[in-house]
Symmetry: C2
Subunit: 307 residues, 2 copies
């Protein structure tokens, strides 16, 4: 076993941080560590928290962490930066939390912003969750800004997904696309002391009652004022109830993840010079991309064991 | 040749629109059409326009289109919606443009928001550009909000990439990450009647002069007030100058694109039942994902022609 993996299993915070950096940099060491740790994962409750910018997700996550700490839980927080090329630096919410939990080894916080290639953020977040899971964190809170496909992918790794809304967000519920309705296990209406909270709740209920596929499951709606610590217990109770009722077996997650990993690695098998020659033929219009790709597919298909 | 491809080569707008829908839905018909059209592409100037939300990109694109129309050019506009799951509906800028150019067949506008899977937006945008190129559009303006990896991928297909900034955007130039500096061929400071425009230009110049890799090429900075039509000619001149100086041969674009296409299709070759069995073994921790993927890679590698 890799020495870092050994230390992570003992909950060593510095080892977690070092492995996290290795994971972000996609080193060969990272794979060895993850492979060693994998049999020790599958115990943590992974809670995804998503919602539009300004919904108060960071404050909510902070309050969840405090509350769970009073129950002596060890917490991991993964804050996913949407990594807009136009907004630099660490997340503000992250910095605030750092101050609160700075001296508490029971709360491990990591923000994820590396996005080396498509899907990289979802992969990195999953691997970070595996590290924290193996390190014995009881609950892992994964905070994402719901801005794109990557963030929706990330919520798939969660056992429970919480969607945070606030009163008065544009056209209210009409602004929420179908994709979000499908991933929500719990709705939190944060800043519920603002005008329009009960209207938002009514609209959500109406939408949920008419939404196809939601007839079998009851989706709880909880009002909070995270800044004042109000409604935090009720929100955690709702999350816990969903988690107890249906713990995911992970088969669906791992199907998607294995396919993604195969996709990532297959390119290492293709000789660069051949890709370049094909690209030249396409760029000069001597060939077209569809014919070139079809040739490679025929090659792969010739390898017997795949059929 | 597919009948729609034939009509697209004649510039038929309804045929373009129908093919665009087929491309978005990834039908088999779409691939046939794109394959037929491919030899007729490579003539249009593709101009990418990116920048933070609120920089006035839509207005700028609208002004570029008007100006180019007076020179009797046929224009295509592809507006890429960042497809936040929290913001529904068509783009506002798009709607405004629709009113201006509604009766003008010389301006074809399409917004792209489908994002079925990772990288789907970049693929769809490239294929849409190929359709418009084959249909004889002289200039294709591709407007993206620079919010993620997808949007940076999209700018790679452009012959010239314009980055639009506005005075007073947060920490100004510090807010722009390195990735954007690397893709910019022309900077436009829009809304330059706002305070801080000359300070922003000075900061940009300072940053460009110290930025590694920029010593060989001069990156023009143009001030505009798109809402009043000011600076549009100067911006188009700068774009034209860059385009004349170095038309991309497309080899790099097609290398990346071919690799992506192979990645997409390789999964069709993997039997679903085997992936599912592996996912079950991983989810129950009888195996780990790294060992499972290594097995598939060995299979692929056994197929001789790949080595």
């Amino acid at each position: 076993m890799h020495p870092l993996a050994q230390r992570i299993l003992q909950g060593d915070l510095r080892a977690i941080a070092r492995a996290a950096t290795a994971v972000e940099n996609r080193t060969a060491e990272a794979e060895q560590i993850l492979r060693d740790l994998f049999p020790h994962t599958g115990h943590a409750a992974i809670v995804g928290i998503t919602g539009p910018p300004g919904a108060g997700k960071s404050t909510l996550v902070d309050q969840f962490a405090r509350q769970l700490r009073t129950a002596r839980q060890n917490i991991g927080i993964i804050a996913v930066d949407p990594s807009s090329p136009f907004s630099g630096g660490a997340l503000l919410g992250d910095r605030i939390r750092m101050q609160h939990h700075h001296a508490d080894p029971g709360v491990f916080i990591r923000s994820m912003a590396t996005r080396g290639h498509l899907g990289g953020l979802a992969r990195g977040t999953l691997e970070m969750a595996l590290l924290l899971d193996a390190a014995g964190r009881n609950t892992i809170l994964v905070e994402t800004v719901g801005v794109g496909q990557d963030e929706i992918e990330i919520t798939r790794l969660a056992d429970v997904t919480v969607v945070v809304l606030v009163p008065g967000m544009g056209d209210d519920v009409q602004a929420i696309k179908a994709g979000i309705m499908e991933i929500a296990d719990v709705f939190v209406i944060n800043k519920s002391d603002l005008p329009g909270a009960s209207r938002l709740e009514q609209e959500l209920k109406a939408m949920l009652s008419t939404s196809p596929g939601n007839s079998e499951r009851e989706i709880p709606i909880v009002q909070t004022v995270a800044g004042e610590g109000k409604g935090i217990d009720a929100a955690l109770d709702a999350i816990h109830a969903v988690h107890s009722a249906r713990k995911r077996d992970g088969v669906q997650l791992w199907q998607a993840r294995l396919r993604e990993m195969i996709r990532e690695r297959i390119l290492d098998l293709l000789p660069f010079s051949e890709i370049e020659a094909a690209a030249r033929a396409v760029a000069s219009r001597q060939s077209d991309p569809y014919s070139e790709v079809a040739k490679w597919m025929q090659r792969f298909q010739r390898s017997g064991p795949l059929r």
